[in-house]
Amino acid sequence: MTSFRPTFLLLSMLILLTAMYRYTALEVRHAVRFASALTALRLHDAELNRDLLLLRGGDLLHYDSINHAIGQIRSDLSTLTALPGELAPQVETLKRMARYKAAQLERFKSTHALVRNSFAYFLHLQEALTDEAPVFPALGAAMLQFMRRPDPRHQRSLSDLLDTLPAGKNGRGTHLEAHTRLILQRLPELEEILANLLTTPLGITATRIASVHESHLDTLQKRADRFRLALYLTAILLLAYLFHALRRLQRAHRRLGEEMRQRLDTERQLLQARKMEAMGTFASGIAHDFNNLLGSIRGYGVLAREQLENGQSPYHALSRIEAIVGRGHELIQRLLQFARPGGDDLTPLAPAAVIEEALGFLTPTLPEAIQVSFLNRLNDRCRIAARAGELQQVIVNLVRNAAEAIEGEGKITVTLEPAGSDTILIRVHDSGRGIPPSRIERIFEPFASGKPGGLGTGLGLAIVQRIVRDHGGRIGVESEPDRGTEFIIELPKGLKSCRRPKKP
């Protein structure tokens, strides 16, 4: 499966969901706000109407609360207007009604204040004058009727009484008359305004719009439900995809593990094969050594026989032979040790000795023009935890690679030196052609060998790296084309310090 499909899938899903969110969620939010503004409007209208009745009954003595209510109605309406919707014409109707109501409200307040203040004054005067003439109590009774219901009949009886009113002391009767006339004139008007206010069907219209809106909200809610369902399905889909991807990942992981194991197996086998290969390389050197030994043995054998024939004691020659055989035995021992498959425990050993020995085997097999030198900067007590055979294998591989990198004359230097407090470094430097930068990164990968024409197994450096890691060390390489290459191995040292004491 290519990476294009999941990306495409996710992208299209993202677009789809965003679009759905923008349209559906926003719409629902607006619709809900619309509904709540409508409800608020109805409540505020009811509040306004209640306060109007309280004012009319004299149970509320200020206009703050109706001003507040109409202010609220205005702001509810501006909320409604600000929200988009198909109900704009209906909202316009509401606004018209509210405007009408607000205008009537101002009339109501002004007229009401007049009536109320005249009425207060009426009571005040009427009480003061009540004993002066019987017409005053009668006037009070008529006013009572009129205030209760300001119809023409009560209006007439009240105004009839007014015509018979005496002037009273300090013109108070005149004042009473003025206020009574004001009430006579203004109360019917107030009633009319009140009726206008109470019958303006603001609340009812809002209720009707609310019920229309309810069904709209219903459809939106259904759409929102569908959106939720879509979300749910999307989530399921994503989950399934996730599950599938996980499964694939798991399988890939298992396959990779299997492959890794196989590789390690072959690597181990190849490691052994490589040893054998190295053995082959040694064989010529060893054969050469053995030849020399055998030549010496033969020489001493001939000498011993001649001495016997001459009646001389062959003791010296024989002991030479014994010594030479001893050396042959030693040679064989080492060879066997080298060829033994790994798996030994790490043992403390002197790195210098091991390296010297490996170089001893190797040097005779290298071309004459290559000069190999060994520099030991460690002290004599230095020990590291290692497997001698493997360490030798590392040196052999690196030195052989170095030799191959040299065309014609050249120098290989192996250096052993302390580094830091608890590591030693093995440097293998050659003056060869160097490794091109393009290859240097992959140099430790199996089959990345720079050897032309399938020489070797192509595992040399990979095996070196394995061994170094098995020893808890690190290996790095620095190379300059046409100048040479240096492999640097860092190995943990054993218990003893490897640093040479400072020269005085």
Binding site: Y63, L114, A120, H124, T130
Partner: protein
């Protein structure tokens, strides 16, 4: 018999409110606003550079250390065909409409009118000056970004919202602290309600929440047409917004034309023209004493009592 009828009348009829309703309400707590904006607004309120002449600030006509007005019958500079006495800015936020005609709905619109009509603002120059100022750009930046007309007006309005005067004796009285008013003031309050003043001057701001005709009983002598100047409707002739009576004791002179110098005269005129009655000197004195109980506190001091 007559006494019984009167008694019945008293029982049955309003105003014997079912629950003892008061026409006056204590001043609500000041609206919560941004302190920084209010501080900036205060600076602007006192800054004459806002005016075209460079000599007039809001505070020139609305002196906060006295009653929030200018103490003059009419402002020293002409303000339209029917010049009006400067009302106080204190508690203006609680008025349902602004100006004597009550033709402005919001403090924002009022501030714009004040700047343009009363102060002859030259916006280009003002903005240039304020932007070049050492202080203003730093004050505006975190609140409004750049300095512009909207920011200036918003800051001014924010400051005006803090110009409220709570804790007048009447507020404490209405909250149940009877002793906050002297016995004579309490008597004055009773008269205020009895005479019917509280029919028009009521609510939290003791007025400022309805329109009313000036001269209901008899024509008041003024050439000002009232709201008619705005609406052109004959029924609006001589109609004004009923002013708030809060702090009225420290905002002389009175009435829209500022022709009335003393409270006693104002009350007598009110009684005559609004109530159709002639009040005794004693009643006037009592009511005036009551009106003195409407003076509230600003920044911890009684209004008009500033250094």
């Amino acid at each position: 018999m007559t006494r019984i009828v009167v008694f019945l009348l008293w029982i049955v009829l309003p105003p014997g409110p079912l629950f003892s309703a008061e026409p006056l309400l204590p001043l609500p707590p000041p609206p919560a606003v941004s302190r920084d904006k209010a501080a900036l607004g205060e600076r602007l309120f006192h800054d004459p550079r806002l005016s075209g002449s460079g000599r007039l600030s809001c505070a020139s006509c609305h002196r906060l250390e006295s009653g929030g007005d200018d103490g003059l019958p009419l402002p020293s500079v002409p303000t339209g065909p029917y010049p009006h006495n400067t009302p106080t800015v204190f508690n203006a936020v609680f008025n349902f409409r602004l100006h004597w005609y009550g033709d402005l709905h919001s403090l924002q619109k009022q501030a714009l009118v004040a700047l343009q009509r009363d102060m002859q603002v030259d916006w280009m120059r003002v903005l240039k000056r304020l932007r070049a100022d050492r202080l203003y750009p730093r004050l505006f930046k975190p609140l409004y970004g750049i300095i512009d007309a909207d920011g200036i007006i918003d800051a001014l309005v924010t400051f005006e919202r803090t110009l409220v005067t709570p804790n007048a004796p009447i507020d404490r009285f209405l909250r149940g602290e009877t002793a906050a008013l002297t016995p004579r003031q309490r008597q004055g309050y009773r008269l205020f309600k009895q005479y019917g003043c509280s029919a028009c001057h009521q609510g939290a701001n003791i007025g400022g929440n309805l329109y009313q005709k000036l001269g209901i009983f008899g024509e008041y002598d003024t050439r000002d047409p009232g709201r008619f100047a705005i609406t052109g409707k004959s029924e609006d002739l001589r109609i004004f917004r009923v002013p708030s009576l809060r702090n009225v004791a420290v905002t002389a002179p009175y009435f829209h034309d500022g022709r009335v110098e003393t409270l006693e005269k104002a009350v007598a005129l009110m009684a005559e023209y609004q109530l159709g009655t002639r009040m005794s000197k004693e009643d006037i004195a009592l009511i005036v004493e009551f009106l003195h109980s409407l003076t509230g506190h600003y920044r911890g001091r009684a209004l008009g009592d500033m250094p």
